[in-house]
Symmetry: C2
Subunit: 280 residues, 2 copies
């Protein structure tokens, strides 16, 4: 099977992704073609000409290796056992170097926490930065976090994962209990200074934090401008030069605002009601 890249670029670099096989079906070799190559192939086929394609594919399935989540905390001064989780993932897709997906997110959550740590006071709750292992190949880092920290999950006040590269933040959304709305409204007042609007649509919560919802952890989502993200995502082009420092600064500022507001909220943050703990 040859699939036309579903990225948004027109470079001679394939956009790649995960392939799942039905265990009851033959495992048909599959590869992605860059958009220009797929277009050429399609136009030759449309002309009625016979086409033979020769492809050299060097990928292989290797045995699982050991990796680790990396976790750091700013301990809250009033409710240290309550946790606001800022997540991102350490691994990346093999073709590129993972600058956008997701070194950018790792940089954002580390820097947001660093800025908060430099404030004169600590927030009421603990801010926990979690850099997940293995998001790309099945979220086993996220599963390991949920099982290792199972007893703490009921004390997670919120979770936000940054995994959308360097795009400017555009909007803010959440899955939370109705009693949290006044707090979220306060937060959106602050985010307005960064031109970030509250969104009536949830958008996508990060793959690594989505599993926390079933235990009632409120999920937050910072929308980012993805105009160029899928030009580079999962291609050889995901490299450091694609980072736009000024945009990333804005993402970091928004992340710091959200983390601080959630962590320092004086009132209790309720769990997501039982009947809202499933994503569509």
């Amino acid at each position: 099977m040859l699939i036309r890249s579903i990225g948004t670029d027109s470079n001679r670099l394939a956009h790649t992704g995960t392939l799942w096989y039905d265990p009851n079906q033959p495992r048909i070799p599959s590869a992605a073609l860059s958009a220009p190559d797929a277009d050429l192939l399609a136009s030759i086929l449309a002309s009625g000409a016979a086409v033979r394609v020769r492809i050299t594919v060097a990928c292989e399935n290797r045995a699982n290796g050991e990796s680790a989540n990396v976790i750091g905390e700013i301990v809250g001064h009033e409710k240290p056992g309550e946790i606001v989780l800022l997540g991102a993932h350490l691994d990346s897709w093999d073709l590129g170097r993972g600058a956008l997906d997701d070194a950018a997110g790792c940089g954002v959550v580390i820097e947001a926490a660093r800025q908060i740590a430099q404030l004169p006071a600590r927030p009421r709750r603990t801010i926990r930065v979690v850099l997940y292992a293995n998001e790309e190949n099945g979220q086993s880092g996220s599963e390991a976090y949920a099982s290792t920290h199972a007893t703490e999950l009921e004390f997670h006040a919120a979770a936000l994962e940054m995994d959308s590269g360097t795009g400017r933040p555009t909007a803010f959304s959440w899955r939370a209990a109705p009693s949290t709305l006044p707090l979220l409204a306060q937060m959106t007042d602050l985010l307005r200074a960064l031109s970030i609007a509250p969104s009536t649509e949830e958008g996508e919560f990060g793959a690594d934090v989505a599993n926390l919802l079933e235990t009632g952890v409120p999920l937050l989502n910072l929308w980012q401008d993805l105009t160029t993200y899928f030009d580079y995502h999962h291609t050889a082009n995901d490299t450091f030069d694609k980072i736009v420092p000024r945009d990333l600064d804005k993402v970091t500022a928004a992340t710091a605002v959200i983390a601080w507001c959630m962590a320092d909220a004086p009132s209790a943050i309720e769990r997501v009601p039982q009947d809202h703990r499933k994503l569509e």
Copy 2:
């Protein structure tokens, strides 16, 4: 030798070019790195770390093959032996498909001639479209043209080569006898409608027509906007999707105007004076 790509893009695709060896020196293997790869290598080296690079290079020097210039004419009705040459080159660099370098130029000169051929009248002089073989690897097509047509060169009234891709035309320049200036001024009046300015700077005449200057053939140059040209030139990314039809239409219109004006000029077109027959 590893050289950082001198293109203007930041894709993980190397920008390549010709390498000449001094016959008295060892032939050191040489390769181009894409800008992101070169930057990574430079930053690792700057950190003081030891670096080992493993590169797989599949290129080879093959024996020369046979190729041919392709020539077509619109025969002039008054001075058929006088020739206005419109050139472009048929070959391309191996990594890409040569859409910009130089299928675009071939398309422009063919279409400009086709438009002129559809006019109710033929121009006074002959318009000769020459699609050169082997521009990239030493201009042997251009040399073959000059030697095969040596006796005609003194009757070449002008030569224009299109070899700058799909960029919009911006300016017009020339190497011509002072007596040609009134004709060129008329032409720039027409080109102004396409926002093309007469330039006081010659710019670059095409590699395939530059050798005609030594016999006194007036050379013309249509400047094009090269903002993105060296993003793609001599890379795997030089593919059909990079063509901007609207811009190419404008290049074609300008080429047709220039070709018509030179071919239909009622007065004689003088040779370039002896002391102006060398390019810098």
